[in-house]
């Protein structure tokens, strides 16, 4: 009997995508008594096919996506359901344990138990954030973590892969320089030379993908960040095009190594302490001795 009522109610609720209020239900099913309606709604809530929302003073019943609820096994208890739904809300950015506790109003021990339980059931997973190494965030098990959490292609288990970035940086630079050399050979005037030595991100992307040095799939945004580091190394220039995109080209430094760094004083770590007296002087300087030998 209750199941039938529930089916009727669900049909009505599903018919109103924004969610049905109590008034909607009484209007649609006018022959149903209030008591049996409550009973039916409770059945639906228990099944997890609808959810209750509060809008102002009114309660709204909304049908849930049947695919979503299927992830949670039938035997899950209420607390688990709540925690699961909170984690679900967190999406691919994940949610911090403290926020779960605040939202669910569960105490710490209980929450820990539930989270552990859900983790062993492979319903949710804990992901370490790259921004704060001690901060664990939870998200659904089958969710791909957001770039802001994992740090994108440059992180392996929240460790920044320095070598990988360095290799890419060198390869990008090599590509830009190759392009420049290629342009130098053709003598079509300076402006043509400049244009030919410019590379778009797409070209660099193709070059890097063809090289096959990366196991991870790199997209163009990733390469743009790498190209920016080449620019920050002073080996390339970033030029704004008229259509709002950027192109890159290899350039030479405008100055040869300055005279200051050709002698030890220019790179001396203790130059601040160097004076006529004391432990650091030009006469007993070890750097100077090595240099003059």
């Amino acid at each position: 009997m209750a199941a039938e009522i529930a089916q009727l109610l669900l049909a009505v609720i599903q018919g109103i995508p924004g969610g049905a209020t109590n008034d909607d239900l009484t209007k649609a099913l006018s022959d149903m008594s209030a008591a049996s309606r409550v009973e039916g709604l409770n059945v639906l809530l228990k099944q997890g096919s609808i959810e209750v929302l509060k809008k102002g003073e009114k309660l709204i019943y909304r049908a849930k996506d049947p695919q979503k609820k299927s992830a949670l096994p039938k035997d899950a208890d209420n607390e688990e359901k709540i925690v699961y739904s909170i984690v679900e809300e967190g999406g691919n950015k994940g949610i911090w344990i403290r926020d779960i506790r605040m939202k669910s109003n569960l105490n710490m021990t209980q929450l820990n138990k539930i989270l552990k339980n859900l983790e062993t059931k492979k319903l949710i997973k804990a992901v370490k954030s790259v921004n704060a190494s001690k901060k664990k965030v939870y998200m659904l098990y089958n969710m791909e973590a957001d770039r802001s959490v994992t740090g994108g292609a440059w992180y392996q288990d929240q460790d920044f892969e320095v070598e990988f970035v360095d290799v890419l940086n060198q390869q990008c630079l090599r590509f830009l320089q190759m392009k420049r050399e290629g342009a130098e050979k053709k003598r079509d005037g300076p402006l043509a030379f400049k244009q030919m030595s410019c590379c778009t991100v797409k070209e660099v992307h193709k070059f890097i993908s063809d090289l096959g040095i990366s196991k991870v799939n790199l997209d163009e945004d990733d390469l743009e960040t790498i190209l920016k580091t080449v620019v920050y190394d002073g080996s390339a220039e970033r030029i704004l095009q008229s259509d709002g995109t950027y192109v890159y080209r290899a350039v030479n430094l405008p100055l040869p190594a300055p005279g200051l760094v050709q002698m030890p004083c220019g790179i001396c770590p203790v130059i601040k302490n160097c004076s006529n007296c004391g432990d650091v002087t030009a006469i007993n300087c070890q750097y100077m001795n090595d240099w003059l030998e």
């Binding site: 790498i226 620019v231 920050y232 002073g234 405008p254 100055l255 200051l260 002698m263 006469i283 003059l292």
Partner: protein, 522 residues
């Protein structure tokens, strides 16, 4: 003026003029002006010695004097601190003149530098009697001298005012702007007479007109060279040639030491100049493209300001030297802290203000390393931190603050310049030390050389000479070789260091409003 610069000046002056001048200059360095008795008191030299030292400094245009404000009969002396470092650039000046005017010009410049300042007749006399270029006639010397004046490499020092001698106890100078480069009248006949000993130098009519090298003109040439070289490295030879034509055109209408930017020139003017003087076909063919390239380049040497005459351009000195000085700072950072640190520096430069977290993301450097590099740079004053505090917080917890990295170029350059001064001082000091440490050895070898020389002249037998040479033992020889090598390395370092100093000084001249060594004919 920093303490480092004071040390440097002191040691340069000691090297050039000796102890007395050094202490007189030290005394003047630390004060705006001093009177003679004040100098005598604080240096503990006799009045006569101090007077002589002052005379030398005045002759080399390193000291100015003016009547005191309170007492018109009392002269006050002041040191031209910025010019002291020019003493180290003498070899560069001579080299420049050598390439422009050949050996004759070089010997004129050399005599002029050795004398500090000199009358035209006196100078030519010295050059002729020097005898290195005996083949050259007095006319060649005179013509080169006049040519150098016309090109502003030599300048007339303001004449003493002689008309109202009754009034002034302290001599005054007559400064007349249009008079600086008027060619003198040199009496070659008298010159010949003096050389033969039939007349004396005091008979020369130009005794009151004294000439000296015009440092500013040389510095202008050095500065243009820096810019031209940068252009060549970045955009190739043709662009560099094009740019040097532009610079020459600019000087027709602009004071070369105008601080921010030059006056404007048009494309047509540039084209005409290049067509007239250059035979670089490729440059002529692609001239508009080269100009466009130089204008678009990130160094920012040239700026387009209008469309008149095919495009109006001006040379942006401020931007140019900002780019160059920062490039210099960046390479210093690369050498001193590694390329990752240079990357961090550039990130901050491009972003103006940036937080620690964003910094490491932008530079793609692991957090720990980025932090340590940034803090190192901060500690050595290459970068600075700006703190933005959020008001309030109201006692509960600490007030929120943002720490943003930024670059204060002027401070960084100043710091680096002081470092250069210190390094230069160190090389001089070390070189002096090496010389005094092995003084005996160096003197011995010199003595030996002169003995061998005279023996060869007397025609002594080779065996005997070899015997004498052998008194200089192999270990001694070894040490001497080492010491000579050290001194050579140090003096080479002095030269290259001065390049950096010059570049940074140019930055200070063009990008700040600080007073600099460029005095414009004072």
């Amino acid at each position: 003026m920093s303490a480092d610069y004071a040390h440097l000046c002191s040691s340069i002056l000691e090297q050039c003029f000796g102890k007395v001048v050094q202490s007189v200059a030290d005394c003047l360095f630390s004060a705006t002006t001093r009177t003679l008795s004040q100098i005598v008191n604080s240096t503990h030299f006799s009045r006569k010695e101090v007077m002589l030292a002052l005379a030398v400094l005045i002759k080399f245009r390193l000291v100015n004097f003016e009547p005191s404000k309170n007492n018109p009969f009392l002269p006050e002396y002041s040191l031209r601190r910025e010019d002291v470092i020019c003493l180290l650039r003498y070899s560069r000046y001579i080299h420049l003149v050598q390439t422009k005017y050949g050996n004759v010009g070089a010997s004129i410049a050399e005599e002029l530098l050795n004398a500090g300042s000199e009358t035209a007749t006196g100078l030519l006399l010295k050059c002729l009697s020097d005898g290195e270029n005996k083949a050259e006639s007095a006319e060649t010397y005179r013509d080169t001298f006049i040519k150098m004046i016309a090109d502003h490499y030599i300048i007339k020092i303001p004449e003493l005012m002689t008309d109202n001698e009754s009034e002034d106890a302290v001599p005054r100078f007559q400064t007349n702007e249009c008079d600086f480069f008027v060619p003198p009248n040199i009496d070659l006949h008298l010159l010949a007479q003096i050389r033969k000993g039939e007349a004396t130098l005091s008979k020369a009519l130009d005794g009151a007109i004294v000439w000296s090298l015009n440092y500013d003109r040389f510095h202008q040439e050095f500065r243009d060279d820096i810019m031209r070289l940068a252009m060549e490295r970045k955009l190739g030879e043709n662009a560099a040639e094009c740019f040097s034509f532009i610079l020459n055109l600019i000087y027709n209408t602009t004071d070369p030491w105008q601080r921010k930017a030059s006056n404007q020139i048009t494309f047509v003017e540039i084209k005409q100049a290049i067509e007239r003087k250059s035979n670089n076909l490729e440059l002529m063919k692609f001239l508009d493209q080269y100009i466009c390239l130089i204008t678009d380049d990130s160094l920012g040497f040239l700026r387009k300001v209008g469309d008149m005459g095919g495009g109006q351009y001006l040379v942006d000195m401020e931007k140019a030297f900002e780019s160059l000085a920062l490039a210099c700072v960046e390479s210093v950072i690369t050498e001193r802290f590694g390329s990752k640190a240079a990357r961090i520096f550039r990130v901050i430069r491009f972003k103006k203000y940036i937080e620690q977290e964003d910094l490491q993301k932008e530079a793609m450097i692991p957090a720990k390393e980025a932090k340590s590099l940034a803090y190192n740079l901060f500690q050595e004053q290459f970068i600075h931190v700006k703190v933005i505090k959020k008001p309030g917080g109201g006692g509960s917890g600490p007030a929120k603050a943002f720490y943003l990295f930024q670059i204060k170029e002027k401070d960084t350059v100043r710091m680096l310049l002081d470092n250069c001064f210190k390094s230069l001082y160190n090389t001089i000091r070390r070189s002096n030390y090496e010389k005094s440490e092995h003084k005996g050895l160096i003197e011995k070898s010199q003595r030996l050389d002169s003995i061998v020389e005279t023996m060869k002249e007397r025609g002594e037998s080779d065996e005997y000479i070899a015997e004498i040479v052998e008194t200089f033992t192999p270990p001694e020889c070894e040490i001497l070789k080492k010491v000579k090598h050290r001194i050579k390395t140090l003096s080479k370092a002095e030269m290259t260091l001065d390049d950096t100093i010059f570049l940074l000084q140019m930055y200070q001249h063009h990008c700040t409003t600080l007073p600099t060594g460029i005095q414009k004919f004072k």
